[in-house]
Symmetry: C2
Subunit: 124 residues, 2 copies
Amino acid sequence: MTDSEPSVFDATCSARHALEIISGKWAILIMSALGESPMRNGELMRRVGGISQKMLTQTLRELESNGLVVRDDRGTVPPNVEYRLSGLGQSLTSTLSVLDRWAEENFPALDAARERYLQQNPKR
Amino acid sequence: MTDSEPSVFDATCSARHALEIISGKWAILIMSALGESPMRNGELMRRVGGISQKMLTQTLRELESNGLVVRDDRGTVPPNVEYRLSGLGQSLTSTLSVLDRWAEENFPALDAARERYLQQNPKR
């Protein structure tokens, strides 16, 4: 590896920016949801528990502007707008699924560690 | 799947909390760095470009309190404190590496998409 190779560890590298776009719980959850099937706004609001409309709109726009999500506006009245993953977005879904499943399988270990930590570090 | 199974999509589920801990660029970058080797604070500051001391301390403490990172304090004078991944943390490294490499390989596609988007949506 030379210094000029792209690296997520380099704050000035576009690779870091790309990592910032695809990390973060809302981006991960929205892309995971759209990995199941294309969805409209209301469906995403129901699928991604706890997200606000503002955060959903903002994250969808960021994913769309970076080519990860396609906003499919049929241009009809009443409006019929659907979101789906692009090919680029689809190339991430298997990895994001591994993260999701890891969290669903390992949260008891994190919970137990947190309890131990709080007992051992009551003042922190 | 029943409704009672843990799901990252459920905002009240501990699995969501676990996903929140392991997503986020700083947690991902710190765990990726420690996946290379155990490091002291100064080494982590140099490896994870752009992180502030405050954010490094805060993220390390969160990872430690959730059992992902071990803080190894030799108790010597001068202090010699090293951070390393726990077994739980190590179980994530291959997946985080895939995310890092994805970002390093695909950032040109994200950059190009963003440029197209800005041209097509000049007012947004």
